[in-house]
Symmetry: C2
Amino acid sequence: MRGGCVETSCKVIKVNPREIKLVERFDAESFRSFLQNRLDLGEFSFSLTSLRKLSHFLRQEKPFKGVFVKEEKGLVLADLLEEESPVYGLAIDLGSTTIAFYLYDFERDAVLEESSILNPQTKHGEDILTRLHLARKREKLEEIRLETLEAINQEIERLNGKRIYYVSLCGNTAMTHLLLGLPVNYLILEPYPPVAKWYGVFRSLEVEFKIHPEGRVFIFPSAGAYFGGDLIAGLFFVELYKKDAPCFFIDVGTNAEVVLGNRDFLLACAGAAGPALEGGIFSAGCRAEPGAIYKVSINRASNQVYLETIGGHPPKCMCGSAIIDLMAQLFKEGVLSPEGRLIKESWRERVIETDEGRAFLVYEDGQRQILIKEPEIKAFIRSKGAMFCILSLLCEKSGLSFADVEKFYFAGSFGVNINVSSAVMLGMLPDSALDKAVAVGNSAGLGALKFLKHADFEEIKKIVDSITYLELNTEPRFMELLTGALFIPHVNLDLFPRVKSLIERS
Amino acid sequence: MRGGCVETSCKVIKVNPREIKLVERFDAESFRSFLQNRLDLGEFSFSLTSLRKLSHFLRQEKPFKGVFVKEEKGLVLADLLEEESPVYGLAIDLGSTTIAFYLYDFERDAVLEESSILNPQTKHGEDILTRLHLARKREKLEEIRLETLEAINQEIERLNGKRIYYVSLCGNTAMTHLLLGLPVNYLILEPYPPVAKWYGVFRSLEVEFKIHPEGRVFIFPSAGAYFGGDLIAGLFFVELYKKDAPCFFIDVGTNAEVVLGNRDFLLACAGAAGPALEGGIFSAGCRAEPGAIYKVSINRASNQVYLETIGGHPPKCMCGSAIIDLMAQLFKEGVLSPEGRLIKESWRERVIETDEGRAFLVYEDGQRQILIKEPEIKAFIRSKGAMFCILSLLCEKSGLSFADVEKFYFAGSFGVNINVSSAVMLGMLPDSALDKAVAVGNSAGLGALKFLKHADFEEIKKIVDSITYLELNTEPRFMELLTGALFIPHVNLDLFPRVKSLIERS
């Protein structure tokens, strides 16, 4: 292993000082000779911290450890430690709602703890744009930076931060700007230029993380205003850029961000299809929380809607995945028309009239009604149509059909929770997704974690630089495609052969 | 000019934002394209400080400045500034007695101010070894580090430190250890290993200098315990390593450090010959201060000793150079024998008996006597003999004679103040030094200053690595040579043909 090829962000080398001959005229040079000749370590430089400890460690009896951190331009001997001191890394997924942490032990190659906290920025609003508008003022940007930093530092201190020598952090472009205190004034103005693409490796003191003072902080780069470090980390984790056959990588949040590609190309697109998949369009929708309906099935004949709630509490609201399941069933049963209308005659007890138009009554008790309303369904159809069109457009632009796509990687909770067949039934995902869907979990966080083990700057740069970004706003073909997708599942039923056969059978 | 060839430690580039097209998807990339394509600047990276300012500066009307600092592995855009803000560098010569500062304006290529302060370590004793022994204790090392740092930081703050983006500092190996807080426990034990050879470039925060937070600090490397960064800076300034013909570089402090060499070789040696040249052996000796005798001439016939003192004050003590002048005259006049005895008969009024043996009475008034004592003269002879032997030995080892040496570069105040012919008369310097002596001033400080303008890491590394150090302790030839040199000027008078002819004439 040559220094240039050290893969891990932080390499820990155990040294027995009795094996080291102090033959050189300088202690540092004796240690360097030993490491390079005996352990085949490549070039590295010494931190001041390591120089301050070196002479004593070289002359002690007990073995000790050298902690090397990887920078873009080489290895640095950051610190020397007694044998029993652990050396940790920390991967951080800076989400706009939740900040997730993975504490990693470099020597044991093990995740010691996963935790998450609420992003304190949420107090300024769930919506990222609201926060960005606030942060146009310099003082407010600094206020938001400091409150984000403080929340992260609280968690770092709880995790014994002084033992952390490397942080790998990813966040979307807005989150990265707010964390680093970069101005967002132009990020919200056409053509939405982020300040920078590549941030690289900072000293802990520069970004004010309360890890070890010699610790380093890698911030994942942005490929654009709508394609941030979280996506890059996700691609790094899923390794789309290494696949032979083209695959989709689909990350659903406030936006739906989609990449189609393989080792030859990466074509990316983002659109407001996110809420369709997250169920954010529905007033009855909510996150997975106690009382949320997460499973639903209907029996029209017996006028039954069977529900399961988280924690078994009385129903309060519905998870996005449950809403999608419900709509797919309503469509299959003929309660929901291809245009998104609720057909009163099909289920008179449940399709009711409200001030906001027709609605499907999911649940009712003395205190509350849980309703799925027709205007919400219309909005959902627009959003699911956008999702389908993004996928279609990416295929079209790559000269591919859905059949050519080998896998659909779903990042985040969506892939884990959603019933892909329901999404296909509604025409949100193509028919072929049914057999090809793979849930990859929190790919952003896992990508950040992967960096701790495999700090390949060049590979990450290659990802960023090889992404071609497709701008929907300026793409006339998108509106053409959308027209056909504003039905359930689609104007052209032949695009959804399995849905077609299901409908025909029912 | 390519980035890799930027010579100055800190490059300031004026930019007119109206000339920059924001064509790239990222502000940083637009700026990079502009600098690389329009100004032919090479690779560089952005500091967080520069990223925080970039977007606003790019969109202002007024021109602004980019401040690039040179690291070993490339350029960093450290900061962006309004056009009128100055960009300074600071060269520091960390002497064991005096700390000298040179404030440098990078854009005007001008030294704005030279200043010096007392090294606060002197309160622990003039002697460096005393300080090193104190600093063996960890708390004491930290105390000395902090007091040195505080003294330097006071001067930095007085010099408007936040405008300083680069510090270039040299000091001997002990001073460098104490400043950086490196353990000195082994530096004082055979074989005297310094902690490190190469320190490289630190962030200001690492070494706790109160310059600009993005400022960098270069510390000159050591070639050994007795051959520190001050010497390396001196060689860098004098450019011995570029000369065609071999030259001597002689730096006189507590030790006399001597290098003989040219572009082909650098042979170095240090010995306790320093006091001979500084006059530190004599109880009547002192630094240049009010009342110090700096000029002396004798007239035996009229029993006169003519003195000139600094500030015209009543005589208090004698500068080293005046003592040497006086001894040369006493020798020439036959008052001082070649063995270093004062000949009473030669000048009965001035050669007097004291409790410490014979002495020459330089001056007397109601309050004080200024005496040069025989035991001091004996010690001086040992010391001047060592100096001559170091020079002889270096020539011998290089297969050269003094005639082959083109120049004698004298660093520090010695070369400026001393009468070289007196030193030759006493056999301290070879006869040929008379025509070849060049006083180069404070070459350490000037070498540090040169680095600000010409930050050539490779050249400095080459100097350090090409020095061969000759250990006097283990060199039998040194003692052989010394025997002949314990006379004035030498046992072999043919080595000093001009002195010989002077003596013969008198």
